[in-house]
């Protein structure tokens, strides 16, 4: 250790320059950072539902389909139709848009004695204007599945303008242009934007808004906290520089290794800021406390003392983050685990190498007046909090234990009340336009969650088409499916127009010839593959409830089993199915990551403190805090979601440090105080107490910044981590000492009775 410390001081300039060079290099990479806000693309490749959904989204272009929702009191008015047409024409002319479908240009096939009329639902050059014309249009719209619920809402108050983007289009650019140009029209109707491209863009916007808005707030907050504790410029600047470099390295390496910023990983900088600044604080604190007047010696001794504790803190924190690498359903959570743990190590590494090197190189050394300030501070905190606390604990250990026990029991009841949420809607704040658009889709267009049924076989055969019809009818019997669209529906429409009845023609020859009328129509690409070996039913699911989704999955499963054959293989997928798996995996990954984290921490801490029992003791306060965290979630209705599922393990990784701090201090002091636990604890609570309080304040302060996040799960995440930090801080200062006291008494008893 001595050698290493000497090495750091000797090669300070080499360290500083290499750190700066690597920072410049990684910082340069960050400009290539890409945001991936596409939830579907983040679905894992080992879930068959997800794989099928991804394949369909690509093959049938649904991932490239966006829509403008126009909402008013009644769609069937001349001026409304004009506005729809205006939007349609504007979007059609935009770069990256292949086609637009709306009320004013959708195809319409009519049949009758006169033959077949192939045209548009409305004459685009002479929109309906008289009352009769408008009434006729209304009747026509509500008579066909393709229009009702597909392009006009059931109640006739909203209509969709659906557009497809080209394969090479810059999705976010087009989506933004659509919003910009349509809102510039200043139409009196309400416009909303939905569909995958719009959703992906909204989320990406929130991600970058969060990054640009939250990071400065977090910096400022941490700076204020640091300033109030250190009262020196270097006490503020050094931790911030160190942690900034760690953030730059982490993000740079993310780019270099080909990872993208997701809606989870965008909080990596803030987490690192909160967690990483602590390491430099430790190092600085230790250097400050060295009594040597020789700067070099002070740094050397401080380093020797602090090296292992900082490393341990980093390892335990990283364990918390790493627990996500195993057993997370979404790739973005795995990525988050990888890079937060990496960042934690960077922050620790920099605090141990770069910070001392800087201090040594630039002679930024403690000034005389710091001590006095610190002294004043210490007495304040000590006087009014730590000393009364210590007295209470030692006098009434059992009271403390009972209070904790009661709290934990109540929390356990709360655990059973925890809700789970995987609904993408819940990502947005209530007033977010994307969420409003989702609600309109649910309330007026029969849902926003796509369901796809795939049929593999000869698409032009009566068997396959009839199976599609049968499936559609079966699906529509579910309360959560309003409409279905498929090639079969279209074929039946044309067959009816030809005067052959609204059914699938009975011979393949007829179907193949009917096809001649449809060939090349844009809508075909959304229903069948180019090779005509696969067709899909496109539908939407209404209920956001997980129970309804599970019921529907079962309902469809039996049908598919009975009707799938070699000539027509049926498979189903869609967001409801993904949601079910995600929901299931939420629990599994919560249990998985938490138990991995607990076991690893116990083993690790046990090894460090050379006693498994102490390892277990150390984890008790944080486990208690986590149980209370779950209790709070249960009682307050904060759901377990892809962000809050991370809280427990993160809290464990960070919060365990407080216990380690307390236990190692007590052990150390007991040696010097003749095994007198009361004495050792008194001193520990006063000395470690201060460090823990500072750490709890700065870490939870950093996480609380996430309350300003645009994404609801991250707000919860920030709040809950902060809460757990306070919980585990308090736990390690109250519950842990009590456990140690009681254990000590028991040990003494067994010792005396055995002797």
């Amino acid at each position: 250790m001595n050698k290493l410390a000497k090495f750091i001081l000797r090669y300070r300039w080499v360290i500083i320059i290499s750190v700066l060079l690597f920072t410049a290099f990684t910082g340069y990479q960050i400009k290539n950072m890409q945001i991936n806000s596409d939830v579907i693309s983040s679905l894992p490749d080992d879930d068959p539902d997800a794989v099928l959904l991804k394949k369909i989204a690509e093959q049938f272009g649904s991932s490239k389909m966006g829509m403008v929702i126009l909402e008013t009191d009644d769609i069937f008015k001349r001026e409304i139709l004009e506005h729809v047409q205006q939007i349609t024409d504007t979007i059609r002319m935009m770069d990256g848009v292949i086609s637009v479908t709306s009320l004013t240009n959708i195809i319409d096939i009519r049949g009758g004695d006169f033959g077949i009329e192939v045209g548009k639902l409305v004459d685009e050059y002479d929109l309906p204007s008289t009352e009769e014309e408008l009434l006729a249009l209304r009747e026509r719209v509500f008579s066909k599945d393709l229009y009702k619920g597909g392009i006009v809402s059931e109640d006739g108050t909203a209509t969709l303008i659906i557009f497809s983007l080209s394969e090479y289009a810059d999705v976010r650019q087009v989506a933004k242009a659509v919003v910009k140009k349509t809102s510039a029209m200043k139409l009196p109707e309400n416009l909303y934007y939905a569909g995958s491209p719009m959703m992906v863009t909204s989320i990406a916007d929130l991600i970058s808004a969060d990054l640009t808005k939250l990071l400065p707030i977090a910096f400022l907050l941490i700076a204020v906290i640091l300033a109030s504790f250190f009262r020196t410029a270097r006490g503020v600047i050094l931790p911030l520089i160190t942690v900034t470099i760690a953030i730059v390295w982490t993000l740079g390496i993310m780019v270099l290794t080909g990872f993208q910023m997701s809606m989870i990983s965008n909080n990596i900088p803030i987490i690192l800021l909160a967690v990483g600044s602590a390491y430099t604080i430790h190092v600085l604190n230790r250097i400050n406390e060295m009594k040597d007047t020789d700067r070099r010696k002070a740094i050397l001794r401080a380093l020797i003392y602090i090296f292992i504790p900082v490393l341990l803190a980093a390892i335990t924190t990283a364990i918390g983050f790493m627990s996500f690498i195993f057993g997370a359903y979404l790739e973005m959570i795995r990525d988050f685990g990888i890079f937060t743990s990496l960042g934690t190590f960077f922050a620790a590494f920099l605090s141990l190498f770069f910070t001392p090197a800087l201090i040594a190189a630039f002679s930024i050394f403690r000034k005389k007046n710091i001590k006095q300030n610190k002294q004043a501070k210490r007495s304040l905190l000590t006087e009014y909090f730590l000393i009364p606390l210590k007295n209470l604990l030692i006098k009434h250990p059992k009271y403390t234990l009972t209070t904790w026990g009661a709290l934990i029991l109540i929390s356990i009841i709360g655990i059973f009340l925890i809700k789970r949420s995987v609904d993408i809607q819940e990502y947005f704040k209530k007033d977010n336009p994307a969420r409003t658009a989702e609600n309109i889709m649910i309330n007026k267009f029969g849902g926003s969650k796509p369901i796809f049924v795939v049929f593999r076989g000869d698409v032009q055969s009566p068997e396959v088409l009839n199976t599609i019809v049968k499936t559609s009818n079966y699906m529509k019997q579910s309360p959560d499916v309003l409409t279905t669209q498929s090639i079969a529906g279209l074929i039946m429409e044309i067959n009816a127009a030809l005067g052959e009845g609204k059914k699938i023609p009975d011979s393949q020859a007829k179907i193949e010839q009917l096809w001649w009328l449809l060939d090349g129509n844009e809508i075909m690409q959304t229903y069948v593959t180019e090779d005509l070996d696969e067709a899909i039913i496109i539908s939407k699911f209404i209920s956001p409830e997980n129970k309804a989704k599970i019921e529907f999955a079962k309902y469809m499963e039996t049908f598919i089993e009975e009707n799938s054959s070699e000539a027509c293989e049926i498979a189903i997928t869609g967001m409801p199915f993904i949601d079910i798996t995600m929901d299931r995996s939420l629990l599994r990954s919560q249990m998985g990551s938490l138990s991995i984290a607990i076991i690893m921490v116990i083993i690790f801490v046990g090894l460090i403190l050379r006693s498994l029992k102490t390892g277990i003791f150390a984890t008790i306060p944080i486990i208690a805090a986590i149980i209370m965290l779950f209790g709070v979630m249960g009682f307050s209705g904060i759901p377990l979601n892809i962000a809050t599922v991370l809280v427990a393990s993160v809290a464990l990784g960070i919060g365990i440090d407080y216990s380690i701090h307390v236990i190692s201090n007590v052990k150390h002091l007991m040696k010097t105080h003749n095994d007198d636990i009361s004495h050792a604890l008194e001193e520990t609570i006063v000395i470690s107490g201060k460090a823990i309080v500072i750490n709890v304040i700065s870490v939870s302060g950093g996480f609380l910044v996430l309350l300003f996040s645009e994404m609801v799960p991250l707000q919860y995440f920030g709040f809950l981590v902060a809460l757990s930090m306070i919980g585990s801080g308090v736990g390690s200062l109250t519950l842990l000492p009590v456990i140690l006291i009681l254990d000590n008494r028991r040990m003494k008893k067994t010792k005396s009775s055995s002797s």
């Binding site: 033959g115 192939v118 045209g119 685009e124 010839q513 001649w516 009328l517 180019e530």
Partner: protein, 250 residues
């Protein structure tokens, strides 16, 4: 002083006159050129031959349709499909005023199809019904001569009606023989979105488009039309272009 002023006025007037004159000439030329184009495209009394329609998707996948084609004058056309196998026997008869009859063997009797939407694509091709219109260009468009190239004229055609999906069509016309070399279609936003390239050959007295390649730039879809075995003026009668004749002669 006065003389200078007067000469300036004179000069300006004459420049103005020249401008008016040349633009008049240009306008005259443009109308002439367009008439000549119409003449090339619609001059034979009748023609027949084999038409091959190749649809090429974005991924490069090709679909081939073949038909026997008969045409009399500008607006009577009969197509009888021979390929693909599954659609063989399908026949269409286009008559004046946008009336079209469709015969599908599997369904028996021919059906009348009214094509109400001109911007609609013609059964899977990149030609819209508007592109297939039988009305002469001169009646549908107002031409301006915008450029005279070494071997071609460039005409800018503006639709005479607002019921067009185009804001303009730019035609590059062969200088010696007046057939179109290229047509570029612009949307209402003034952006080019389709492009047709023509190859003409002389058969007898007539120029015939042996190949037309229409590309939809947005959809990245291409339609290639090949005309082979073309013969002209065989004396096709109006009786040939009747609904009864849609069914193949047994």
């Amino acid at each position: 002083m006065k003389t200078i002023k007067r000469s300036i006025i004179h000069f300006s007037l004459s420049v103005l006159a020249l401008l008016i004159l040349t633009s008049g000439v240009k306008a005259q030329d443009a109308h002439n050129l367009l008439a000549k184009l119409d003449n090339i495209m619609f001059s034979p009394k009748d023609k027949q031959g084999k038409i091959t329609i190749i649809l090429i998707s974005k991924t490069g996948k090709e679909k081939v349709r073949e038909a026997e084609m008969f045409q009399k004058g500008r607006d009577k056309k009969l197509f009888r499909y021979t390929q693909p196998e599954s659609q063989a026997g399908i026949a269409t008869l286009s008559l004046p005023d946008g009336v079209m009859w469709l015969y599908m063997p599997a369904f028996g009797s021919p059906k009348k199809i009214s094509l109400l939407a001109k911007s609609q694509a013609f059964t899977g091709t990149d030609f819209s019904y508007e592109d297939m219109a039988t009305q002469p260009y001169a009646e549908r468009f107002y031409p301006i001569l915008v450029e005279i190239k070494e071997d071609a004229y460039v005409l800018e055609l503006t639709p005479r009606t607002d019921k067009s999906s185009y804001s303009k069509v730019v035609v590059t016309q062969d200088k010696t023989n007046y057939f179109p070399i290229m047509m570029e279609y612009y949307d209402k936003g003034g952006r080019k979105f389709k492009e047709a390239i023509y190859q003409y050959e002389k058969i007898g007295n007539y120029w015939n488009a042996k190949e037309v390649i229409m590309r939809d730039l947005k959809k990245e879809h291409t339609t290639k039309i090949l005309l082979t075995d073309i013969i002209f003026d065989q004396g096709l009668t109006d009786e040939f272009f009747t609904v009864d004749n849609l069914k193949p002669e047994d």
